[in-house]
């Protein structure tokens, strides 16, 4: 009971994920700043931003549904945190069951749908536009992402993340067999996190703040926080599925390797956001369905052939 | 790189429009012709069709201190060099025929004149507010009317 509570609240639950989320944001901003010849924020900046947002007045347009607008970030935050619980951190797996990958993928989609709803309930013009865009984007990246992520599951013959990691200790990291799938997973992750260059739903120069234009104060702070945590959970998931060969190593070394892998992922995400321009929504749809989906299917075909 | 053969232009405008139009040595760096306001549209047509000159730089309106009862309007055209058409309007009837059908680019300049000086332009659709607030109901701000 006490142990379960510890898992929930501290490691690998709430506290750990929030700290990781803030660290991720800081690293990301710092990296981006250095790519742009700036100094970048100090380490406490993400926390300071969060505290500032939490202390701000909470406003909504007249006629907006306050209850739903407040529930949406809470629901998505808990969905993301729950997803995080099932993902092994450096090989440490408190909760695991066969099929948890599907649960994780489902829970990871909750914020996107909530984001769409947040746009609709907050009644702003830009919110509605941004919400519509987020749904369009969802359909473009989600299908290739799901197909790609089923690659490791088929190869590892398990639908649990821990099981897939187990399989990799025998067969070697899956990134070797599925480099294409790894890239697709990263593209899908960028789309999921609405990061540059796939920040179409929240493109500042077009739809101001996207769905969150009218959201302020604590709610906005929660939204920002949950997106950071989502990024961390996504990174952990991709690392475990494609680079999960840590069982070979002694415990302290496996933690080190895991941290290095995470940093590499952060660098990849930062570089992509630094060097690519935002796509137009029709360009994204074209990319998703004409390029990513066929590539994902190709990868799956290859994986199935390997399995046989 | 002058492309304006001024004397020839003045002659042709005179012949084609059949109006008073007197060139005078008014504005520096610029050929200047005084024309009656009523003939503006015809002159504009000739400029465009015969001389291929339709870069309108600006429309200036001003009141001279010694002649406060009239508004002077200057159309500044350019083709390698500047050429200006000067006309005067009495304050009681500030009406000019719009040249936007020939030259859509004159739209903003006409609207500016309409709002700031109260000049009305015939032959174009209702002018929606451009510079002044939507609820502006005072006289045109740049026009000084001495009663």
């Amino acid at each position: 009971m006490i142990e379960g509570l510890f898992f929930l609240l501290f490691f690998p639950g709430l506290a750990f994920q929030v700290v990781c989320g803030l660290a991720f944001e800081w690293l990301d901003r710092k990296l981006l700043a250095r790519f742009q010849r700036r100094v970048g924020p100090p380490w406490y900046q993400p926390l300071a931003d969060l505290i500032k947002l939490f202390s701000k007045e909470d406003l909504l347009p007249k006629g907006a549904n306050h209850l739903i607008a407040a529930l949406l970030p809470l629901v998505s935050f808990s969905a993301v945190l729950t997803a995080g619980l099932y993902i092994p951190v450096a090989g440490f797996t408190p909760f695991s069951f066969e099929g948890d990958l599907i649960v994780i993928l489902f829970l990871m989609s909750v914020p996107t749908l909530a984001y769409y709803l947040a746009g609709i309930v907050s009644l702003g013009v830009y919110s509605v536009l941004g919400g519509g865009r987020s749904l369009l984007q969802f359909f473009s990246y989600e299908v290739p992402l799901l197909i790609a992520l089923s690659g490791p599951a088929i190869l590892g013959q398990s639908w649990s993340v821990a099981g897939i990691m187990e399989a990799q200790t025998v067969q070697g990291p899956f990134v070797i067999f599925q480099p294409l799938g790894f890239i697709l997973a990263i593209v899908g992750l960028i789309g999921k996190l609405k990061r540059d260059p796939l920040d179409i739903p929240s493109a500042k120069s077009e739809v101001v703040g996207g769905s969150l234009t009218e959201i302020t104060g604590t709610k906005l702070g929660l939204w920002h926080l949950l997106m950071k945590v989502q990024a961390v959970v996504g990174i952990f998931l991709v690392i475990n599925l494609y680079l999960g060969w840590l069982k070979y190593l002694p415990a302290h070394l496996s933690i080190l390797v895991f941290v290095i892998e995470c940093l590499i992922m952060v660098v990849i995400l930062s570089v992509t956001s630094a060097v690519f321009a935002r796509l137009r929504i029709d360009q994204l749809a074209g990319l998703g369905w004409k390029i990513l989906v066929p590539l994902a299917l190709l990868q799956i075909g290859f994986v199935i052939l390997m399995g046989v | 790189m002058s492309q304006i053969r001024f004397d020839e232009w003045v002659r042709e405008i005179r012949e084609a429009v059949g109006c008073e139009c007197e060139p005078y040595d008014g504005i520096q760096n610029e050929y200047t012709i005084r024309i009656p306001a009523a003939n503006l549209r015809d002159v504009m047509g000739i400029l465009k069709d015969r001389f291929d000159c339709y870069h309108l730089s600006a429309i200036t309106a001003q009141q001279h201190e010694d002649r406060p009862e009239e508004l002077e309007v200057i159309y500044h055209f350019w083709k390698g060099e500047g050429i200006s058409f000067v006309m005067t309007l009495p304050l009681e009837s500030l009406v000019i025929e719009s040249i936007t059908p020939d030259l859509p680019g004159a739209d903003f300049y006409e609207r500016e004149l309409a709002e700031l000086y109260g000049v009305s332009f015939s032959g174009r659709e209702e002018i929606p507010p451009l510079l002044l607030p939507d609820d502006w109901n005072q006289p045109p701000p740049f026009l000084s009317k001495k009663d």
Binding site: L32, F35, Q36, R37, R38, V125, Y126, L129, R133, D196, P197, D199, I200, A203, K204, S205, E206, V208, A274, V275, F276, A277, R278, L279, R280, I281, D282, Q283 | M1, I27, Q28, N29, E30, Y54, H55, S57, A58, T60, Q62, H64, E65, H76, W78, G80, E81, G82, S84, P104, G105, A106, D107, F108, P128, P129, L130, L131, L132, P133, P141, F142
Partner: protein, 360 residues
């Protein structure tokens, strides 16, 4: 699909200055829109009539925060034309040098803004970093980053000494490298091209009908540049290429401005090479005899037009200013129809808006 009206402005992250557009949007498609100006109308034309010619130099400088020097240059040459004085050749060259530096700075600023609007913040930062070199030059020779106060009636305020010239030379050769770097990136960046190619093309015919000027006209194949066609000295003695592009879309505007930046760098070098000696000012009387004058200059955004009438006192009787953004704005509603929502930033950036200029 349901039509909604989306307001862009007066406050919007897209706009650095207030301008109001109301756009009809259906789904992701823009159907059309209307435009309102006047949010930064400061009545400068009227204010100028209440100040002396000397004070007006500084008032005029504050019309625009980017192309301030070309405004004062045009104003001063109008006053000088009525006074009938000719400024010394060295002053002419220094004025032209400042104009070209300003063009480089304006175009780099613009490239950054375009990149920012399409979500490419890295290019934005890099272009503005390079622009900082130009601002450094201007700050060290004139004393101000943006408001240079370089002109006065009858010449320029400062002279270039040895030290300044070396600074300009070194900074310009540095700029050559860095600008080539940034321009290389822009010209070879597929993501940027994907966003700008074929967006909101303007035909040459439309350009002529709407009296468009500057880089926008040149990007639609209209070969017009006041520095060549109606030059004030020393441009009639300088040799440079006028860049045109036949396509007329946002990409053509990018290329034209990028190439012009290079051309201006060469011009700066040529000006420094040919810089004649002598004085930089002649004495100008405070009172200007009665008369009228028109002057035009090629600002970074196109033709700047000044009409000045003097009634013999020390204050202008009428000062009419027409800035290049005004014709560009008159074509904006035309351009903002039948495009995607995502193209709005590109279209707006392509115009190189300067609302403060347009409103005056």
């Amino acid at each position: 699909m349901r039509k909604i009206t989306v307001p862009i402005g007066p406050q919007h992250p897209l706009l650095k200055e207030p301008l109001s557009m109301k756009l009809e949007i259906s789904g992701e498609r823009v159907l059309g829109g209307t435009l309102r100006l006047g949010y930064v109308h400061r009545g400068i034309e009227k204010l100028a009539q209440q100040r002396t010619y000397v004070q007006n130099v500084h008032l005029i400088e504050r019309i625009c925060g980017i192309c301030s020097h070309v405004h004062t240059t045009t104003y001063c040459s109008a006053v000088e034309a009525i006074l009938g004085i000719e400024i010394p050749p060295r002053a002419q060259y220094i004025r032209a040098l400042m104009c070209e530096l300003e063009r480089i700075h304006s175009h780099l600023l613009w490239l950054g803004i375009l990149a920012k609007h399409v979500g490419l913040d890295t290019i934005f930062m890099h272009a503005w970093h390079d622009r900082e070199l130009v601002l450094d030059i201007m700050e060290s020779i004139s004393g101000g980053r943006v408001s240079h106060a370089a002109n006065e009636i009858g010449g320029v305020r400062f002279d270039l000494d040895e030290e300044n010239e070396t600074l300009i030379r070194t900074n310009i050769s540095k700029l050559h490298d860095q600008v080539s770097g940034v321009l290389d990136v822009i010209e070879n960046e597929p993501a940027l091209q994907a966003r700008t190619r074929g967006v909101a093309p303007i035909s040459t015919d439309l350009i002529r009908q709407y009296c468009m000027v500057g880089p926008i006209a040149r990007a639609s194949g209209l070969d017009v540049d006041l520095r060549r066609d109606d030059p004030w000295p020393p441009y009639d003695r300088l040799d440079f290429n006028v860049i045109t592009h036949p396509d007329g879309d946002a990409w053509a505007r990018t290329i034209v401005r990028a190439e012009e930046t290079r051309e201006s760098l060469h011009l700066c070098e040529a000006i420094l090479r040919d810089l004649p000696g002598g004085d930089v000012t002649v004495r100008a009387p405070r009172k200007v005899p009665a008369g009228e004058a028109v002057t035009r200059s090629e600002a970074p955004r196109g033709e700047v037009f000044y009409y000045l009438r003097s009634d013999g006192s020390d204050q202008p009787a009428r000062l009419k200013i027409r800035t290049p953004t005004l014709p560009a704005l008159s074509l904006l509603p035309e351009q903002l129809s039948a495009i995607n929502v995502a193209d709005i930033p590109v279209v707006l950036a392509g115009i190189d808006l300067c609302i403060a200029c347009a409103d005056r």
